[in-house]
Amino acid sequence: MLLSKTKTAIESIFPLEIKEADYARVGYHLEVILDAEKVVSLAKVMMAQGFYLEDVTAIDLNPDMEVIYHYAHTEGCCRVTGRAYTPRHAPEVPTIAGIYSGANWHERETHDFFGITFKDHPYLVPLLLPEDADFHPLVKEDGKVKQLKDIKRAEVKEQAGAPAAGEGKPAPAGGEKGEKA
């Protein structure tokens, strides 16, 4: 009920980029893959639907860093994961601190760890690291950073015809970006 309502609401704005995840295996219901510009509109939809923001975080990937937004609902059980991609050499996404006040700290933390700039953030200074820190601890060394296809679970759901083919095939949408590297 909650799930379908949320799905419809998100679909009204992002018709193509939403997919249902296998909750039992990944722990969230919906996965929304966004352009970096659209994180604000997702936040607006989620706010209107009564979700709260669990966290904002990132994964260091090559060539695009993945910025992750976890939303959950206080009535019932519905978790939504938003993913946005931004170039690794100059990562930048708009802030959602104007909608979710709690995002302020989460974004500062992500900035600390990954060096991602949140456009229009009211106060983007180190939160957990010392004030003069000039390093981003969770950015991986060049040799260790992986591509998106190296961390994505192979798609075995639904494609009944070709379950084995999932292994080599990158995940849709986001996966293609990894291929370009």
Binding site: G27, E54, I151
Partner: protein, 371 residues
């Protein structure tokens, strides 16, 4: 958010912490005061940042287990449970039912000890010393019980992928029952001593108002959210382990103030005892470890999110695996981080001494916020 330091104003800047008896650790709050009133508050974090997320990328899955006891040392077993739950979800290992029951029993005991410590320390912040002694006395009994099976008093490393490291004993079961009986006798005493105390009520009533709307904007969870009238508890909303099989309620209060949060926690202790009793009654026989757990846990590629309800709220772990023995990324979503972030807003315009009651009522554990 940021405090502009303007020297021409007649405001007073006050540094609370990082060493302050009522910040419960090394939190620093910069307060801008107009007389006794707080104009702005800015918490400064990072004084106990211990690089847990970085360590997750350096250690294998099994080696990361001891870290979990140290993120939030007061409800270490909830964190253990979340981490093993996440890895089990990722790898598909299913723990045997007895192990799940043991996990819930010990976690709820741990929740009791956490709430007891909070109760004592909160009243101590407000100037009452005696309840602290009583609550620690009760807490020591829980620590004795948990030490007898886990081997440590505080930073437990007890759960394993696919089970628990050691089976519980009959002594533990009788000890737990005796303890519950004892705590049931002591809770009314706490009520006489604290809950009905005029001074206490005056200091916490209508202090630190968190409106449900603000709570959602900041992602506040746990007793702080339930004190604002929102009935959200991961154990009920997103049941894990054996919580669907036990009967318990979620206490909710509508006051939105520090007193409501206090009452929610006190009522939660009773519910925890109910859960423990039921779990002890239903405790099945059998092994405590899944039969085929690989020595080296190597989850397939992919990601997974797992959330549990700790004593402070919704704790989630997001693991991204690249198919090796070490996680590619481990993100810890800690409840205290979100709960503290609301402090700047709710303390604005309140009195300085109320800031202590407000901060205490959020039940902060700083290493969990800084990670």
């Amino acid at each position: 958010m940021k405090i502009e330091r303007n020297l021409e104003e007649h405001s007073l800047y006050l540094n609370m912490g990082p060493q302050h008896p009522s910040t419960h650790g090394v939190l620093r709050v910069i307060l801008k005061l107009d007389g006794e009133y707080i104009e702005e508050a800015e918490p400064v974090l990072g004084y106990i940042h211990r690089m847990h997320e970085k360590m997750g990328e350096n250690r294998t899955y099994a080696q990361y287990l001891p870290n979990m006891g140290r993120v939030d040392y007061l409800s270490a077993l909830s964190y253990n449970q979340c981490y093993v739950g996440a890895v089990e979800r990722l790898t598909g290992i299913a723990p045997p039912p007895r192990a799940e029951y043991i996990r819930v029993i010990t976690t709820e005991l741990n929740r009791l000890s956490s709430h007891l410590l909070w109760f004592g320390a909160y009243v101590l912040d407000l100037g009452g010393f005696t309840p602290f002694l009583y609550s620690f006395d009760d807490r020591e009994h829980i620590l004795d019980l948990l030490e007898s099976i886990t081997g440590s008093r505080l930073t437990y490393c007890y759960f394993r992928f696919g089970g628990v490291s050691k089976d519980i004993t009959d002594d533990f079961i009788t000890g737990t029952r005796a303890f519950i009986k004892r705590l049931r006798m002591h809770l009314p005493m706490y009520e006489t001593l604290v809950t009905k105390n005029v001074i206490f009520i005056n200091r916490v009533k209508e202090v630190g108002i968190i409106t449900p709307e603000a709570a959602r904007r900041y992602g506040v969870t746990g007793p702080a959210l339930r004190g604002s009238g929102i009935k959200y508890d991961v154990r009920k909303n997103e049941p894990y382990s054996i919580y669907p099989e036990v009967d318990f309620d979620i206490p909710v209060q509508d006051g939105c103030d520090a007193l409501s949060r206090y009452i929610v926690r006190m009522l939660e202790m009773e519910q925890s005892m109910r859960i423990i009793e039921q779990a002890l009654d239903k405790l099945p026989e059998g092994p405590v470890m899944a039969p085929k757990v690989p020595k080296k846990v190597k989850p397939p590629k992919g990601d997974c999110y797992f959330a549990v309800e700790t004593a402070r709220g919704d704790f989630g772990i997001y693991i991204v695996s690249d198919g090796t023995e070490t996680a590619y990324r481990i993100k810890l979503r800690t409840p205290g981080f979100s709960n503290l972030s609301i402090f700047a807003e709710i303390s604005r315009g309140t009195l300085l001494q109320d800031a202590i009651s407000t901060m205490g009522s959020l039940d902060l554990v700083i290493p969990e916020i800084d990670r």
